[in-house]
Symmetry: C2
Subunit: 388 residues, 2 copies
């Protein structure tokens, strides 16, 4: 996975790698960061399920939290008790989402924050808390506090792989990278939309850099708008989603243009590709809409249509299903007569892992795109066989 | 299926049968109507694929047409060339939706209307046209005109079963009834949301009665609002959906309250139960919403969530997935902490063909309900294996 002067990690046809980007050992964090992952006994398998990533000194930061109106306790704790623009650390557990767990769950999340802060010698407000896994069940009583101490004691500049392992759930493989370009390093670890037991498609992503980022919130929102905000697996919004960017500024240089976008887009595409049971990723491009909002609505209707998603799975260049989803999204409008002239579905029928669909509505200048996964028998199997 | 003084047809737990409703032989149409179904060579199987239902004299009528912005040619013909309040006949073909077929498709639909009108001795504007089946392919050139003549010549007061056969596609069984109550008769034939080859979930329904219906449009809209407008199989809106009500008034009596509602709701539930690969029907009741619109939004988010639909299939009383869909529909709002106190998912886990889910948001007085089918491996198989 490592290559001098190239970045095999940025492999999607849809990702534009900045000039001269170099891929480093993915165990390495950006300078000034350390991480660890340890078992806390939450996952029944005994695999690592608690991770910490932390800066050695001050950092500017930003965090994006799910907009779900029934958020998990750690999301509420981040919103209410963190200074999201100056986070020093994040403590993450997998195996239990601490969602729909009531006041007890909130107390557990606060306790995790406080114990981690004490172990790290930080203010609690500088420690973000994140969880992913089964929902509606309380966190197990024992083990977590000791694991936090273990993780804090084991923080390592080369701990990114261990941290990634601790936050993964049903992910088929790690989703992480360490890249260097323009004199700065960016490391990132994500876990994806494989849904957990009776839980949801939680997406977590942690990004570290030694670049100077004057407005981390703007940088993160901009990069997420082109990546995590453009993907859908099954149209469902998680209770636990979280993306955190931390920037120490120690390199004394800004992020090269496009680097953060490329990293987050590649990670987002890996999350889609790793959607439950997914075998292919599609990109739908809608042009010629009356507005950007309209284009977005049409793109999402197509991307979330089970008929289009099964066509993506079945290698079926079925433009009629795209016409139907478009017509549904624009109910009441006047459209051109559906035809292959304005719908390009050819790649649906081709044997390629990443397929593009094009729709030109011929109504205006609005454009939008969305990335999505196919719908497979495996998705149904995974999501129907668990009985809570 | 026939029982004196009862109506086994109205068998769903959610359908309230009016007092004294009696079930007649489903081959019989309401007095004053005749129907026929014949093979026209559109279905490759050679099965009946062209049907006509017609009144002997004048009738008041109403029609509901899909709001899809890319409607099929017959829908456009109905909208542009029919007097929908005084329809005398409907001519319906299965096996080809005549959708996404351009100007040629429109000319074909007009031609079908004109040939049927000539055979029946009616004005073209009194003849509705409907189609269901494969989309994006022109209707076959030969056979249809001769079949229209055959069907017109074969119209029979006991032709309802033949008509139903001619409009069915992948339906697992017929969806029709003839009921008598309050001195009037109602017959109805529907075909359901089994999707056709590369096509969509077209729903067609034709209702005949000898009752006096002073405002057929209001009556039909009211009954459809509680039935066809409350169902979802996969959240997709067809290019071809159509519901037609014709009332001769010959019985000199009005429809008994609730009769039309009961008939359309039972047919709607059969369409859901016959959704592609479906094994169960769910009903989600949302109460305590800030408004009826909000309740509807939440109910549809739950009913269309693939997580909830796979839980329905998997007999999984997974209230967490319902909380997540609710939170997604109400992103940005403040909800009570999700718990089994406000989400009743018990019946998801029970072995019953019709399962109810309850959600009480505790925010206001808004309420809504939606009926939906489960998502099964068979749905994926059906919709991915066809290659156009």
């Amino acid at each position: 996975m490592t290559g001098a002067g190239t970045a095999a990690f940025l492999r999607s046809r849809w990702v534009r790698a900045p000039e001269g980007v170099e891929e480093l050992d993915p165990a390495e964090l950006a300078p000034g960061f350390r991480a660890a992952g340890v078992p806390a006994g939450i996952k029944r398998s005994g695999k690592p399920d608690l991770g910490i990533v932390a800066t050695d000194g001050d950092a500017a930061s930003a965090a994006l939290l799910t907009r779900n109106a029934a958020p998990a306790a750690p999301v509420t704790v981040c919103r209410e008790r963190c200074e999201l623009d100056s986070l020093r650390a994040a403590v993450v557990n997998s195996g239990n989402a601490n969602a729909a767990t009531g006041e007890g769950g909130y107390r557990d999340a606060v306790r995790i924050q406080e114990v981690a802060a004490a172990e790290l010698g930080l203010e609690p407000a500088a420690v973000a808390v994140a969880s992913t896994g089964v929902i509606g069940e309380p966190l197990p009583a024992g083990g977590i506090e000791a694991a936090i101490a273990d993780a804090a004691a084991g923080l390592d500049p080369r701990g990114a792989v261990e941290f990634e392992r601790a936050i993964m759930t049903t992910d088929r493989g790690p989703k992480q990278c360490t890249l260097r370009a323009g004199g700065v390093t960016v490391s990132a670890q994500a876990k994806g939309a494989g849904m957990i037991e009776p839980g949801f498609a939680t997406m977590l992503c942690f990004v570290q850099t030694d670049a100077q980022v004057s407005d981390p919130d703007e940088a993160l929102r901009g990069a997420a708008a082109g990546s995590f905000e453009r993907i859908t697996v099954d149209g469902q919004m998680s209770t636990n989603d979280m993306v955190v960017l931390q920037a120490t500024g120690a390199a004394g240089r800004p992020l090269p243009p496009g680097l953060l976008d490329a990293v987050l887009l590649q990670l987002a595409l890996e999350i889609v590709a790793d959607g439950e049971g997914a075998t292919r990723v599609g990109r739908v491009d809608v042009d010629g809409a009356a507005s950007a909002d309209e284009a977005e609505r049409v793109a999402r209707a197509i991307a979330n249509s089970p008929l289009v998603k099964t066509a993506l799975y079945g290698r079926d260049p079925n433009w009629g299903r795209i016409a139907q989803a478009t017509g549904m999204a624009l109910a009441g409008a006047e459209l051109p007569e559906p035809s292959p002239d304005w719908i390009d579905a050819a790649e649906l029928g081709a044997e390629m892992a990443e397929a593009e669909i094009g729709v030109d509505l011929g109504r205006g200048e609005g454009a939008a795109h969305v990335f999505f996964s196919d719908l497979t028998p495996e998705y149904v199997r995974i999501n129907s066989e668990y009985t809570s």
